[in-house]
């Protein structure tokens, strides 16, 4: 029998982040070399690039957050991390990967069709966002006059992965705070424990609404199986900027909470497979992809699967249809969904509920309002278009829907719903 292959994750904790002359990492302190990072971001699509810092507890609001990435590298120049964008488009997920846990690189500003996402680094909204708990390097930009928005989008994606790899490269020789061995399920021997798969639905709706797997969209394709360790190496990079609270940024793919939760319970369950699925825009293809995904799970001899989504109401169908098809194949299905129960929480919570499956986890009500207090400074955008251009530093009332990743069905958050009589 072949020995388990997998990934060794070398974890370097970040407890402090600042800008400086050259990039370095030392005992939790990450210094970002400003000139080097600006050079890495240089692109014909930008007239100017600015760098900011936001740390947990700061009185800072980041407005217009697009993607967020955890710094990660497998060696000089990334060593193959972020395949298809930075590294060659070849399978990853084995060997060693260095990550800077507690740090993230974010882009924040305007792109068309990007719904405004907000992160408060302190106050009542901070516990709702995974990126309020990280030390963030925030990239802002002014587009070049002749650049198209598509050019800007691509330049940001390419630039962000370069910066993420560059920052982690500073820790390649540092003593890790933790060394984590992550098994590759493809090579694990049967062990009698229930085999549980993760179904990761990825949005595929074209520019500004797409997710990249080895640098390409899954649009038009069928479900595919990869190892969860490929996520750790940045095989999935987000270019999807709709529905802020439901967003699954690259950061959450790299640190996939359902994968992590299954690893935590490996004494009781086996993390057996990760199935990536496109979210088609028409019903017939949603049904095809769902039925096909369930058959793949059957071939993989799964006992259960957890399905997640990205996007708004129509993506409920991508989860619900898969849950129903899984149950028909005799595979226990659990879905993670956000509720859209209206401002007062009295509406039906789901747009497309399952008809056969029943087991659902809630990430809270999208429509509930919350008040965010005045902050000292704002990054990303000076005003909030959603609120008729109210200043970003003002006290603002926003739906949970606007808080970055607050309801990500990848399951980072603790938000859920309780019933009360109105």
């Amino acid at each position: 029998m072949q020995a388990d292959v997998g990934l060794t994750r070398m974890v370097h904790e970040v407890s402090e982040l600042d800008l400086g002359e050259r990039t370095s990492y030392d005992a939790g302190r990450l210094t970002v070399g400003e000139d080097t990072v600006r050079d890495l971001l240089q692109d014909g699509a930008f007239a100017e690039v600015r760098l900011g810092v936001a740390s947990p507890g700061d009185s800072v609001r980041i407005v217009g957050v697009l993607d967020a990435i955890q710094p990660c590298s497998k060696g000089p120049g990334g060593g193959g991390a972020f395949p298809g964008l930075l590294g060659p488009a070849m399978p990853v997920g084995r060997g060693e990967t260095h990550v800077l846990r507690g740090a993230a690189v974010l882009a924040a500003g305007y792109l068309p069709r990007a719904q405004e996402a907000v992160i408060d680094m302190s106050g009542p909204a901070a516990p709702l966002s995974p990126l309020a708990a990280t030390h963030n390097l925030v990239v802002e930009w002014t587009p070049a006059e002749d650049a198209s928005w598509e050019d800007v989008d691509q330049a940001l994606r390419r630039g962000l992965v370069k910066v993420a790899a560059h920052l982690a490269e500073a820790a390649l020789d540092a003593e890790p705070d933790a060394v984590e061995e992550l098994a590759d399920p493809a090579t694990s021997a049967a062990n009698g424990k229930p085999r549980v798969g993760v179904i990761l639905n990825l949005q595929t709706q074209g520019t500004f609404k797409d997710v990249f797997v080895y640098g390409r969209s899954l649009s038009g394709g069928l479900p595919t199986v990869i190892s969860p360790t490929e996520l750790d190496d940045g095989a999935v990079v987000s270019g999807q900027f709709g529905h802020p609270s439901l967003k699954n940024p690259t950061y959450l793919h790299q640190t996939h909470p359902v994968v992590a939760a299954l690893r935590e319970r490996s004494d009781e369950l086996e993390l057996a497979a990760l199935v990536l699925c496109p979210e088609p825009v028409d019903q017939a293809n949603k049904e095809l992809v769902s039925a096909h995904a369930a058959r793949l799970c059957k071939q993989l001899k799964l006992d259960a699967a957890i399905a997640t989504k990205e996007g708004g109401g129509n993506a409920d169908a991508d989860v619900s249809l898969k849950m129903d098809r899984l149950e028909e194949e005799g595979i226990a299905a659990v879905g993670i969904l956000a509720e859209m129960a209206g401002r007062d929480g009295t509406g039906p919570p789901l747009v497309v509920p399952p008809t056969k499956a029943t087991a659902l986890v809630s990430t809270g009500n999208y429509d509930e309002r919350m008040t965010l207090p005045v902050v000292e400074r704002a990054l990303g955008r000076p005003s909030i278009a959603l609120l008729d251009d109210q200043a970003s530093t003002d006290e603002v009332v926003l739906p949970v829907a606007a808080v970055y990743c607050a309801q990500s069905t990848l399951g980072w958050g603790r938000l859920t719903c309780a019933e009360v009589l109105a």
Partner: protein, 341 residues
């Protein structure tokens, strides 16, 4: 107490759907089911007037409620009761709006409807008591309605034991574990054979009785409606790209096609590149006009109704639907083609 009772045109004896466009009015004394209600309320209370409005008018003019409540107050009303409206959607919505407007005006108020009545979604902030499914259960429904009204008149709170119903709110809170950990725990529960464990109870959607088919499309009046975020270029009404709380109407008079640069889509849930390059892809005006000229369609309505269906709450969507249906019917439209995204 001096009470004003609200009923729709049907229970006021003015007729059925043909009279649904009737505007609001106040009549002296009790009418229809109000007579039985008055006797059940006893001698200490008097139904001084009956407020009436057609269901279509009420659905398409939400301001009817505040207007009737103001007139009832002028007449000396000390309490307003509405219904029972059973499972009738527009009537239920009207009762909920009347009760809500009365509560807003600091008058004790009560509406009566079946728990499945879609109007219950509009009833937040006011009190609703359960009625039967249909008017066949009028007697029982009125008895419960009267008992609840007496309790409210005496200043007491109505509870579920009195038949109080109302929207159940799902409010955000933090769980001990994150959603991923809870999903894994639910897998173990589900593998253990428990099929009922869930954090989201599966909803029952209400059903709608389909309208009768049109006899002859060549004679019928058609409307084009859409939830594709379809707006005049520049979006003058600032229709929302997501979580819409309103709908818009714009004239199509004199237009043969929904041209690029004249209309656009502000929908935030899909790429609008294709819609903006040819807005007929969202609202099929070019072909509808062609078919109107050929006589395949009797006539096309002079305006379209539109909203954005993207993360829209079911309560808002249901309200838009009832308002559209009432509005179109008042204008004599016989069929609508809804392009959905």
């Amino acid at each position: 107490m001096k009470i004003v009772h609200y009923v729709n045109q049907f229970f006021a004896g003015m007729g059925g759907e043909d009279s649904a466009g009737t505007g609001p009015e106040l009549r002296d004394g009790a009418t229809g089911p109000g007579r039985k209600l008055a006797s059940l309320l006893g001698d200490e209370h008097e139904i001084i007037a009956t407020a009436v409005c057609g269901d279509d008018y009420a659905a398409s003019h939400p301001e009817f409620a505040a207007e009737l409540v103001a007139r009832a107050k002028e007449r000396g009303a000390e309490m307003i009761v509405a219904g029972p409206s059973f499972t009738s959607g527009r009537y239920g919505m009207a009762c909920a709006r009347i009760a809500a407007a009365a509560s807003e005006a600091d008058l004790p108020a009560l509406a009566s409807m079946h728990p499945d009545n879609p109007g219950i979604g509009e009833a937040a902030g006011t009190t609703v008591v359960e009625s039967g499914l249909t008017a066949r259960q009028m007697k029982d429904s009125l008895e419960r309605f009267a008992a609840a009204a007496l309790k409210i008149a005496s200043g007491e709170e109505l509870t579920a034991r009195d038949g109080r119903i109302g929207p159940v709110a799902r409010t955000n809170r933090f769980a001990a574990d994150n959603a991923a950990q809870r999903a894994v725990a639910l897998v173990l529960t589900r593998l253990g054979g428990d099929r009922d464990a869930t954090e989201i109870p599966l909803p029952d959607f209400d059903s709608v009785t389909p309208a009768a088919p049109i006899a002859d499309a060549g004679e019928a009046l058609f409307a084009l409606v859409t939830e594709g975020g379809f707006v005049p270029f520049g979006n003058p009404d600032r229709l929302e790209s997501a979580r819409a709380t309103k709908w818009v109407r714009h004239s199509l008079d004199g237009l043969d096609s929904a041209d690029e640069g004249a209309f656009m889509s502000v929908h935030g849930g899909f790429s609008t590149v294709w819609a903006n390059a040819d807005p007929n892809r969202i609202l099929p005006l070019d072909v509808a006009r062609e078919m109107e000229r050929e006589g395949a369609i009797g006539r096309l309505h002079g305006e379209y109704l539109g909203t954005t269906g993207n993360g829209t709450t079911v309560a808002d969507a249901r309200r838009f639907g009832m308002e559209w249906a009432a509005d179109l019917r008042q204008q004599g439209i016989q069929a609508a083609i809804l392009t959905a995204t």
